[in-house]
Each structure stands twice: as structure tokens, then as C-alpha cells.
Amino acid sequence: MVVRRVHTTSKYSVLLPTYNERQNIPIIIYLLVETFELHKIRFEIIVVDDNSPDGTQDVVKQLQRVYGEDRIQLRPRAGKLGLGTAYVHGLQYASGDFVIIMDADLSHHPKYLPDFIAKQAATGADVVTGTRYGPGGGVYGWNFKRKLISRGANTLAATLLQPGVSDLTGSFRLYRTACLEKLIRLATSKGYAFQMEIMVRARSLGYTVAEVPIVFVDRVYGASKLGGAEILLYVKGLLKLLVTT
């Protein structure tokens, strides 16, 4: 396989909020380290763990001994306090020029990070977001109903908010650090609307956004994370953004 190296002198901070990711966290950290080292990219990984009872923090400490505490940070919290505050907490310790947010459960593959970095370098964008909907994007593990809901939510939001971005609810993104620091303090939505609010506010502030195609692999078969309550929360978030942005 031919690898096109990404050339950058910037440093990248990866924020990984975790809760009960004992099985996945060593694998994603291994793949992240492998990807960054292959492209000779300066990086740090910041694990924000919400007091997982399954030993997530213990395995992160083992990984710190292997890869170095300068490259793997563990910044725990007392309990499950929400995604937005996890980002705020992790950002305090980020020393990178850019911050990458992604899920820790391997649904977002580190192999796309060179594409994000290259896209940012080529366009000078403040934000690069992964899109499941554009050419080259996609999913695995979703049935028709789940795809319909996802597409429906994005179609409705795109029509009402006109963000100029195809995937509003995705959470695999690269931000200029200063931009994310500003955005995270403005966002108050919960659930899926949180990621949408960050993107809409980014556009309102005049930040430039680029997209790269990604494939989201859902490995949590049979465990629905999208009930009626989540959908209602999303609609409320959408209406709030319509009125406040």
C-alpha cells in the first residue's frame, strides 16, 4: 500500500472523552500513535474519563508508561458530566495548534486523520469535519430506519439553518484550537444537537469549514442510542438554534 505522507509542523491534540472504554481505548490509542508516527506528526492524546468503573483509567496509565506521559494525558473527572464539559476540561491541557475530537469506541477510524490534516493545510480552514453523506462517505451497521432518521435530521437542519455543511451531527472533527475554545463556551445544547450547535455557531462567527469523507462503523449492534427522547432533544435544539443564531 502506498502511503502519501502528510507534511506539517503543527501539533495536534486529540480529545477522547471516555466512559467504560476499557476494551477500545488501548486499540484506538495504538492506531492513533501508529498513524501520527507514520506521518511524523507531533501529537498528544488527552483522555477525559468520567470515572469509569471498568478499569479504563488503569489501562490508560499502562499506555502512558509505554508511549510517554507527554503524548498520552489522563485527565479524569468525578463522574458522567456530559460531552461539552468534557471538551472544556480536556482543552485546558491541550498544547496543540489544532484539536481533534472523535469517538473513542472505534466508530471513527484514526486512518482518516491525515486526510483531515491535509485538507486543513490545503484550504486553511478553521474547521474540518468528517462527512458520512458526501461522495466517499458512508456507514456500516445501520439499518434503513436509522439511516432515514440520520438523513432526515440533517436535511431538516440544513434547510432551516443553511450551514453550508453536509453533515451537521457528526462528531469527527478537527478545529483550530483557538476556534474550539471560543465555540465550546457558546454551546449549550445537549445530545446530538450539541455538535450541530458548534457547527452553526462556527459558521455564524465566520469560521471557514471544509469536509472530508469518512465511513462511520457502528459496532454497537442492537443497542439503540436513538430513542424518542433523543429525537425530541434534537428538535428542541434545532428550534433553539433557529431562534438564537
Binding site: 476494551q23 477500545n24 488501548p26 486499540i27 495504538y30 492506531l31 501508529e34 489501562v59 499502562q62 499506555l63 509505554v66 472505534l106 477510524h109 486512518k111 458520512r132 453523506y133 462517505g137 458512508g138 456507514v139 456500516y140 451497521g141 445501520w142 434503513f144 439511516k147 432515514l148 440520520s150 438523513r151 432526515g152 440533517n154 436535511t155 431538516l156 434547510t159 432551516l160 439553518l161 465511513v215 462503523v217 459496532r219 438554534l241 433557529l242 431562534v243 438564537t244 443564531t245
Partner: protein, 87 residues
């Protein structure tokens, strides 16, 4: 200007234009003009439905990525085991 303000101004302008048109429209097209808002809502609904249908039809399912991920997980586990970490 906030989005809701822009939408409200647009709606107000359309309402005024519609109201004025109703007062000057000849009887032959008066019903058509009177029903224009209904047609507009219907057209918007049709646009949303067709956007959604197209979006779902082009939303790819990529089974090979699941296979690639499984291979990467196996490789990562082997690499981690070499440094004494079980995953």
C-alpha cells in the same frame, strides 16, 4: 441579523405581497392567488421529501470498512500484547 428575524421579515414581505395581489387579482385567477400559500407549503414539503429520499438513496453502506476495522483491531491487539497490554 438573527435567522428568525430574517425568516420573519421574508414571511411579512410575502404576506403583504400576497394580500396586495388578492386585492388586485382579476376574478379568473383570484382562487389561484388565494391558495398560493397552500401551494407554497406543499412545494416545500415536496422539496424536503425529495431531498430526504435522494439523501437516503445515496447514503452508502460500506461493509468492507467493518472488515478493515476488524483486521486493524487484530493487528493492534498483537502490537499491544508485545508491550504487555491486553485489549
Amino acid at each position: 441579523m438573527l435567522r428568525i428575524a430574517r425568516l420573519s421579515v421574508t414571511a411579512l414581505v410575502l404576506l403583504v405581497v400576497w394580500g396586495f395581489t388578492l386585492t388586485v387579482a382579476p376574478p379568473s385567477i383570484w382562487t389561484l392567488v388565494a391558495l398560493a400559500p397552500v401551494y407554497l407549503v406543499f412545494a416545500l414539503g415536496l422539496y424536503l421529501a425529495s431531498s430526504l429520499a435522494y439523501g437516503v438513496a445515496t447514503f452508502r453502506t460500506v461493509p468492507e470498512e467493518s472488515e478493515y476495522l476488524k483486521q486493524d483491531i487484530s493487528r493492534a491487539r498483537a502490537g499491544l500484547a508485545r508491550v504487555g497490554i491486553t485489549a
